[in-house]
């Protein structure tokens, strides 16, 4: 299990999700992708997308208006 992270800070929707999708393709099963955003809709969109894809996703608010996301690639 490896932890990856990509820079999506300040990016407009839906660029973070497109970047995350691309990154996930190069990851192994069980790897974790860490993301951080200050955009409420971006965070929500990624959570909804991950759930629809049956990936494991954990969303935490680390500061006012900042969301920390940890997405586990559970399957190919």
């Amino acid at each position: 299990m490896t932890r990856f992270s990509i820079e999506i800070w300040g990016e407009m929707c839906p660029i973070p999700l497109i970047k995350a999708k691309k990154k996930l393709l190069s990851m192994q099963c069980g790897d974790v992708l860490v993301l951080e955003t200050e955009h409420s809709c971006t965070s929500r969109g990624i959570v909804v997308w991950a759930k629809a894809n049956r990936y494991l996703i954990e969303e935490t608010e680390v500061a006012n208006g900042i969301w920390h996301l940890e997405l586990t690639k559970t399957h190919d």
Binding site: C13, H39, C41, G45, V48, W49, N53, E61, A63, N64
Partner: protein, 209 residues
């Protein structure tokens, strides 16, 4: 939230509620009608933000990431509005209350305007309702977008005549006038149901890959 970087903003919240109450009370001294309108506006902004409703996302996400959950929600909103508007306009005609619906003239400018609007909302990261919502949320990017919107709207408003003169326009078609109320509503709900099925199928297909 046990994290140290997270501070409660409840004091500000209470202050803001007091401010809103004062604003509404003050306005109610001038006009009850405008007070109700402002309260409804606040409600719309609140719900838009809380449910992360975004019409750009409803149109763009099926294309870019194959997600249609917001598209489906928007179709639901359309369905509720169609039935509600039909009921209200029936009630208004029964009791002779004047009511204006948005049946706009149709012309080349409808299509050109729609395409420009569609491009613009993807680039600005919000359509007009999303833009105003994000202005309130504190996004500097949408403040710039709002500035652009102000200028664009004035230029557009002033060039309406030019478009009309150049290409002409036909009066808006109010579907119940041609088809009657019941067939119109049935047809519209059937179209929405078909679109909803299509959206559902599209997301399944996109995720299945």
């Amino acid at each position: 939230m046990e994290n140290s970087a997270f501070h409660s903003q409840q004091k500000w919240n209470i202050g803001f509620i007091v401010f809103l109450t004062l604003l509404l009370t003050l306005l109610s001294q001038i006009s009850i009608h405008l007070t109700v309108i402002l309260a409804l506006g606040i409600g719309l902004g609140f719900v838009l933000q809380k449910s992360r409703f975004c019409l750009v996302s409803a149109f763009r996400d099926p294309i870019l990431i194959g997600m249609t959950q917001l598209t489906q929600a928007f179709i639901l909103l359309l369905g509720i509005s169609i039935l509600g508007f039909a009921l209200v306009s029936w009630g208004a005609s029964q009791s002779n209350i004047p009511l204006r619906l948005n049946v706009f003239p149709l012309g080349v400018h409808t299509v050109v305007g729609g395409i420009l609007f569609g491009i613009g909302m993807v680039l600005a990261g919000g359509c007009t309702s999303g833009l105003l919502m994000r202005v309130g949320e504190g996004f500097a990017m949408q403040w710039v977008g709002f500035f652009g919107l102000l200028i664009g709207a004035v230029i557009g408003q002033r060039s309406q005549v030019t478009w009309r003169n150049a290409f002409g326009e036909s009066p808006g078609i109010f579907l119940p006038d041609i088809l009657g109320w019941a067939p119109t509503l049935i047809l519209e709900i059937l179209v929405l149901a078909a679109l909803w099925r299509l959206a559902k199928w599209w997301q399944k297909k996109q995720l299945g890959e």
